[in-house]
């Protein structure tokens, strides 16, 4: 069903009688309401006549150079019924996609570190074919300055070839000493650890956890998950339990500022991952509080694989609010870890899993049982946290581990 309406020359106009100068559309063209249809020219100005409604231009009554007195008929417009109306040509309505990723927030709000590289630094690193991950920045907020980059590149060039420990490092202590030059990783660890201890007074509390429940759960589910490509490790349980413990002692998930304590909104848990003699790297599982056990396991799998392949990106190691160190895997029963990534406020160490003889009360009687157990130790920054929150956290952590449901 169509409805023809008139397109008229405006009554009010500036200057003398207008003349049709230029039609912008042709008969048969589709127009939206407000689209310019035709240009009229008076002795003063050029005036556009817009489409009074959407539709199709059906007729042009005054051609170019024709006189266009006020109120004269310029043409006719066929306004379409909704069901007939074709979609008008839409201007691009999607938000403009930026070509490059948005610049990150000025300074990493979690760690307070400036991770971005200035143009000079970027250029120097690009020319040397190296990333800046291992450089300690001496600029504001730990920014890598041009001088830092230049110095680093210089060490790369003068670094001796083998990264593997030389035979001399394993030699018994006798005779001449040898010098092992620092790798950038070594420097980085040395600097981080010293700085962490000198900034935060560390205290460690030790609890013991019975792993029976999580062993049982894992045995029941690991094969099914394996078939779906997910490797279910004990570490996943530790992260899940840590998230739960954060709920009773949120101060553990925070950082110290001069004038206040910042309680983080997300629980981003870094997992210390050894790279042999190359050192240690701590990939971060982000927003662990919103992940299921399976989700945590998937993340861990991806991160550890990439860590081992040296394919981690800067954002994989940034933004952590808490760290877990599986030191027991290599044999230690108990350890007092140092908070690796300032400015976090705590770090959890998991000791070696052993079968231990335990005294357990059953129906009022003491019994001796053999249970799978490990020591779990929480090192805290005593500026931020006291013994009370520490033990509350550990209590809950152990509770979750020991009471993991069978399903």
């Amino acid at each position: 069903m169509s409805d023809l309406i008139d397109i008229l020359v405006p009554i009010e106009q500036e200057g003398t009688t207008g003349v049709v100068r230029n039609w912008f559309v042709s008969v048969g063209d589709q127009v939206a309401e407000g689209d310019p249809l035709v240009e009229l020219e008076t002795d003063k100005v050029a005036v556009e006549v817009p489409a009074p409604q959407s539709g199709i231009l059906k007729e042009i009554s005054l051609q170019s150079d024709a006189e266009a007195p006020p109120g004269a008929l310029l043409g006719k417009l066929d306004t379409l019924a909704p069901e007939d109306a074709a979609q008008p040509v839409e201007a691009a309505s999607e938000p403009v996609k930026t070509a490059a990723p948005m610049p990150s927030t000025p300074v990493d709000s979690q760690s307070g570190m400036e991770h971005r590289h200035s143009p000079a630094v970027r250029r120097i690193l690009a020319e040397a074919g190296t990333s800046g991950d291992a450089i300690i920045g001496t600029g504001k907020n730990g920014r890598i300055t041009k001088a830092d980059a230049l110095a680093f590149v210089k060490t790369l060039r003068s670094k001796p070839a083998p990264l593997a420990p030389t035979p001399a490092a394993h030699a018994p202590v006798s005779g001449t000493s040898t010098k092992v030059p620092h790798t950038p990783m070594r420097r980085s660890i040395a600097s981080h650890m010293s700085q962490s201890l000198s900034t935060a007074p560390h205290v460690t509390a030790v609890f013991e956890a019975d792993f029976s429940a999580i062993i049982k759960h894992r045995n029941a589910h690991k094969n099914a998950l394996k078939q779906q490509g997910v490797n279910l490790t004990f570490t996943a349980y530790f992260l899940a339990a840590a998230v739960e413990a954060m709920k009773v002692a949120p101060q553990i998930n925070s950082r110290w500022h001069d004038d206040f304590i910042e309680m983080f909104g997300d629980v981003n848990i870094g997992v210390g991952t050894a790279l042999g003699d190359d050192g240690l790297i701590v990939p971060v599982v982000k927003k662990a509080q919103s992940l299921s056990l399976r989700g945590i396991a998937e993340q861990l799998q991806d991160l550890t694989a990439r860590a081992r392949d040296r394919k981690l990106k800067p954002q994989d190691t940034q933004g952590g609010t808490f760290t877990i160190s599986n030191h027991g895997v290599s044999g230690s029963l108990v350890a007092t870890p140092i908070i690796i990534n300032q400015p976090q406020s705590a770090i959890l160490g998991i000791g070696k899993l052993e079968k231990r003889v335990s005294v357990i009360e059953v129906d009022g009687h003491d019994t001796i049982q053999i249970r799978p157990k490990a020591f779990v130790s929480l090192s805290i920054d005593h500026r931020v946290i006291d013994g009370h929150q520490t033990n509350s956290w550990l209590t809950r952590f152990v509770e979750v581990i020991e009471n993991w449901p069978a399903e």
Binding site: G15, P119, A120, G139, K140, K146
Partner: protein, 695 residues
Amino acid sequence: MATAQRIDTPIQSNIDPNVDWKTVVETVLTSRMIDHLEETELVPAKKVLYQFSARGHDMAQVLLSQQLDDPLDAVCGYYRSRPLLLGLGVDLVHAIGSAMAREGGYSDGRDIGVVFNYPNQNGPKALPMCGGVGTQYSPTAGWAQAIEYRAKVMKEESAKRAIAVCLGGDGSVATNGFWAALTIATTQKLPVLFYIEDNQYGISVPSTFQTPGGNIAANLASFDGLKIWDGDGTDPEEASTLVKQAVNFVRDRNGPALLRLRVPRLQGHSFQDTQTYKSEEFVESEWERDPLPKLKEHVVPAILSEDEWANLKSEVENRVRSAIETADSLPVAKPETVATDVFFEEGKMQKIGGQWAEGYRPPASSDTPNPESKNRINMVTAIRRTLEHEMEINDRVTLFGEDIGPKGGVHAVTLGLQEKFGFDRVFDTSLNEEGIVGRAVGMAMAGLVPVPEIQFRKYADPATEQINDCGTVRWRTNNQFASPIVLRMPGGFFKCGDPWHSQTNEVQFAHSIGWKLAFPSNTEDAVGLLRTSLRGNDPVVFFEHRAQLDDPWARRPYPGDDFALPFGKAKKIANGERATLVAWGAMVQRCEEAAKGKDCDVIDLRTLIPWDQEMVLSSVSKTGRCLIVHEDNSTAGFGAEIAAKIADEVFLDLDAPVSRLTMPDIPSPHNAVLLNGAVPSVDAISQKLDQLLEF
């Protein structure tokens, strides 16, 4: 037997035999034919976009042109001056080709066609007109003053009878320029003819808006030192008589004159104007005053027969049509040439204007200082000494401004110079900056080296139009004209500040096309840059910082009378690796102090247009950090230009943001405590520098 003599022709007793009426007719017909063909053919074909017909004004203008024959005569008109220019001998093809914005002609297509310039080497010239009404007056007064100067100071015989004519409409008598020039011409008794053609309208605004009663001649009747004539510009005999009287009066050195001729405007202001504001009766009455039928009646049959008139008319039509055809075949200038000739380019001399066009070449100079003694002198003394020396060796150099004569300038720069060089070469002016700069423009076009002084930077505001138009003369006349002046401008804070005496705002001139800009921080640089300016071929703003004029830090030994510095070469006053400081004027000394011991490059730009991009960019490349310090307020100050250039050219070398430290966006505050809080101090610069270094 006596026979009665049959009289076939009426007795013509009042036609002036000394007027070349045939040429007058021919020229008026030519003008009308161009008007007609533009209106009916060229504008509809969109070959001419800005079209101004001159019907009604044509005859009187042509009669005026007949009286101008001295090579040192000059006219400056406005957009309805074509008949006058045709009468002076402007080439028809140029006139039409320029209206069509083609290559060559007045402006190579850079300006509209009715904004004429006529670089006539052997006869009366038309000074480059501007689009802005009222700008024609003070440069014309300047040309007139230059005529007197050349006669008296340079002892040129040929200058004794030349005059300057400014042509304007009734609208223009309200403008600043008109009054500035009137004051100049009458107080100094200059050979200026003010030719006012009164058609009673300025576009649509009646002349009663421009002067009470609409009659400027009547209103100026008691103006001391101004001879006035007022008449009918449509009456051939009256118009030719008045024009001749007025011109000869001025030629005889009786002082300036104003000739007002009433004419009808027989078409709209321009092609676009349909004159709906005029009543039909009024338009009819205007046509009744058309001078062309009156001219015909006047010369036919006294000078020409009917047939001769008709033949002339068709000859003119053929000639104009042929010129149109030729003009229409002219190419358009190549777009890649559009940015040439903003400044003087080596090997391309302008035809008219400046000393270089008349053969001047500067004496040998050196950019190595050669002081005769170790005694350090003040910048004010050094500037005076430089002006003095250049005036001694070059009699084209002339200084003027407010209070610079007997008083020696309110900053004491010109102390003693009027005494030494005389009133003609060193003189006080009326209190009108439009007039000071405007006349300098005319004087420069007449081959002098004018050195006007603006008493304080802020007072250049009224001169802004003349300053802007001076800078673009070379470009818009396609290098046919140039107007090199050395505009001295004291400014900046002194012992206190205030919004009127302490402004710097040098960036305004950096943005004015065609101007070079010098801003020395010390005596030695001031001498070198001033000397180069006085020997140069481009307009220069020479900024004299009031605090530096006698500041101990700025003192240096006088570097010698041959010392001249090129523009665009900065000076590195400290060397280092960690950051670059860029400054000029009074901030240089503060940057030097703040950067002590911090291992930084400190660069004194010395000139802003052009500025030493090479030195700055290579320094920032090396250091990776840059701090720009200027006294001018922050937003869009010249520091922004430098910062943008650095970010553009050496982005990959930057290790810290390019920073500026400036006054905040306020005028200069008066109280010294407030001033010192606003202008970057050594401490503030030092702190900002530290921030950059720690980034």
